[in-house]
Homo-oligomer: 137 residues x 6
Amino acid sequence: MPISRFVEYEDAPPDVRAVYDDIMATRQVDCINNFWKALAQHPPTLARTWESLKQVMAQGALDPIVKEMLYVAVSIAHGCDYCVNSHTAAARKAGMTDAMLGELMTVAGMASETNALATAYQVELDDRLHVAARSGN
Amino acid sequence: MPISRFVEYEDAPPDVRAVYDDIMATRQVDCINNFWKALAQHPPTLARTWESLKQVMAQGALDPIVKEMLYVAVSIAHGCDYCVNSHTAAARKAGMTDAMLGELMTVAGMASETNALATAYQVELDDRLHVAARSGN
Amino acid sequence: MPISRFVEYEDAPPDVRAVYDDIMATRQVDCINNFWKALAQHPPTLARTWESLKQVMAQGALDPIVKEMLYVAVSIAHGCDYCVNSHTAAARKAGMTDAMLGELMTVAGMASETNALATAYQVELDDRLHVAARSGN
Amino acid sequence: MPISRFVEYEDAPPDVRAVYDDIMATRQVDCINNFWKALAQHPPTLARTWESLKQVMAQGALDPIVKEMLYVAVSIAHGCDYCVNSHTAAARKAGMTDAMLGELMTVAGMASETNALATAYQVELDDRLHVAARSGN
Amino acid sequence: MPISRFVEYEDAPPDVRAVYDDIMATRQVDCINNFWKALAQHPPTLARTWESLKQVMAQGALDPIVKEMLYVAVSIAHGCDYCVNSHTAAARKAGMTDAMLGELMTVAGMASETNALATAYQVELDDRLHVAARSGN
Amino acid sequence: MPISRFVEYEDAPPDVRAVYDDIMATRQVDCINNFWKALAQHPPTLARTWESLKQVMAQGALDPIVKEMLYVAVSIAHGCDYCVNSHTAAARKAGMTDAMLGELMTVAGMASETNALATAYQVELDDRLHVAARSGN
């Protein structure tokens, strides 16, 4: 049972319904996920979040499948069960195979381990890496 | 100044030196990052972590560039400055452009926002997404 | 099913019962939340935690409603479902409206996004902000 | 040294300069924080993030000072040093006194402790709290 | 319902079955936890993770009971419900009493509080502590 | 440069000085860490936090060395650099050897990895573990 009530399409005011219509048209689906129905209690958050997500996840220099896998990785690190499930589903829809899923998860696990080790030992950044992160050289 | 001393190549015992040699050969570099020099104080952790990382980050169903970007995304979420820098450098070396970097970071930011919103509203997972995450159908 | 058993009022030893009585008197309620019943397995933790919470959440320079909203914000960031629910309930009891709830959640989401972006880009703190954070000038 | 270069006003393309102008006009300041100069390497992220932040942090059902304190609380929980400093500075500018700062921080500390305890004991949510979080009743 | 299917012993390919046999022999149990059954969808991750865990958790300079309690503490901080439960169970099996459990949890709570306070106040590390952390002197 | 000023002993009001005296007497040291000097800007937080810490970290069912190592583990997971350093120093003072340090850190790393994997695969808790975590049977 979520905090605040889900806003169903048939009960939604026009501004919420317009966002729902755009979500369904953009994603070529015929229903709305609970996440959006929860946000719809605060319509400005619904509209702003959807506009941002649509822009961020569109085809760009990175393919949607890579973006969805990045989304899953961040959601694992934050322990957000809803987002792990919903973006794993989206990544699969975008073409992620079982082998890709397995590698995504193992990278997420490995990164978590070395993140902890770098913090545990309070490792100072190498000047060389600093430069390379910044400029690629 | 890190916790525990860095182990330099010239001071390293043979088991540590063997790992250092393998790191330099695998990555085709001629120096060792501080991270490994810190782990080398506990040689079993150095050996195990390097073997795992080498296996996890090798070419597989995902390209190394995608794996490095996933690594960066997790490191951002955990707030590990060392790893954000070192894996951004590695991703650039693997071919990540400025445009790809910009999109990686904006996806990491967006995911963090919706992770928080899904938690804030305690949104229940849609049965449909559960199934889709599991099976791709 | 929690780790460790809930300690019900009727089964509680006198030191636990005294804390329960103080919780009910302070909050003007007639039952004890599961959180306290779980802590009561280790009575010193129950007593110390309740004394601290009572002191911290009392009217001070900040109103209880603001304190409860801050509590919700931190609980969202840590992904603690129990605390998100219990302190959202407390904030509502203290007068938080639906509009205030909506803004609290959207701020929590936005902060999470820019936290991630500041880490992603490893932004150095402006000297000016350093000073202003410290002294208000 | 940040990942990616800061974009200074005099070097900025027109779309970035327009955002910088709006930031300075909205906040009534005459310089741009490093955070925005870092985001400006990816102009769509700069524009989107600023538009969102401006909308989210405006006067609404919550006062800007409360919003800034919520921002600080989330930033503490995520360990984002940049944001802790920049939003503490903003909260002070909005009127936060030393006493309010002290209480904000002690609430953030206390919430972190009970978040951990609720997770440690895996406390199940009371049905009563579920309902109260949702509806205020 | 987990992401990906559990691999049961009777359906497992030989490489997975070999890991399962080693888990049961090492731990002297006659069944396999869901965690391993989930990892088994990606056999290299199953094998690598089990080998690492077996090595890390063996008797060494620290007793297994201390290692299991450290595992619980980290799992609480990451909010991993599965791991909090499974490693609390393992710690109990290794001899952790109710009193030890109570103290473990109260330390985890207290550390979370002072972690937040040190971040909130952006406390600079004392040079003296730096040295003492590094060398024990 | 911390948020808020350090309160030095010679400038401290009597209530702060009394806490400082108790810290030095209890720990048998002759100076005060920056952490306490920062908290002293808000004397009730200083007094409450010190009383709690003193109680929590005293000899009990767990030895101080184990408690300090648990503290380090939690601090690693939260990425609190100050606390990683200060409690590593305290653990060394309590007798932690280099070998124990190495194992502490490798357990912290390993736990972080499996925490991520359990979340990644959304593994359901085994009923058996639930019971064992609760009761030790």
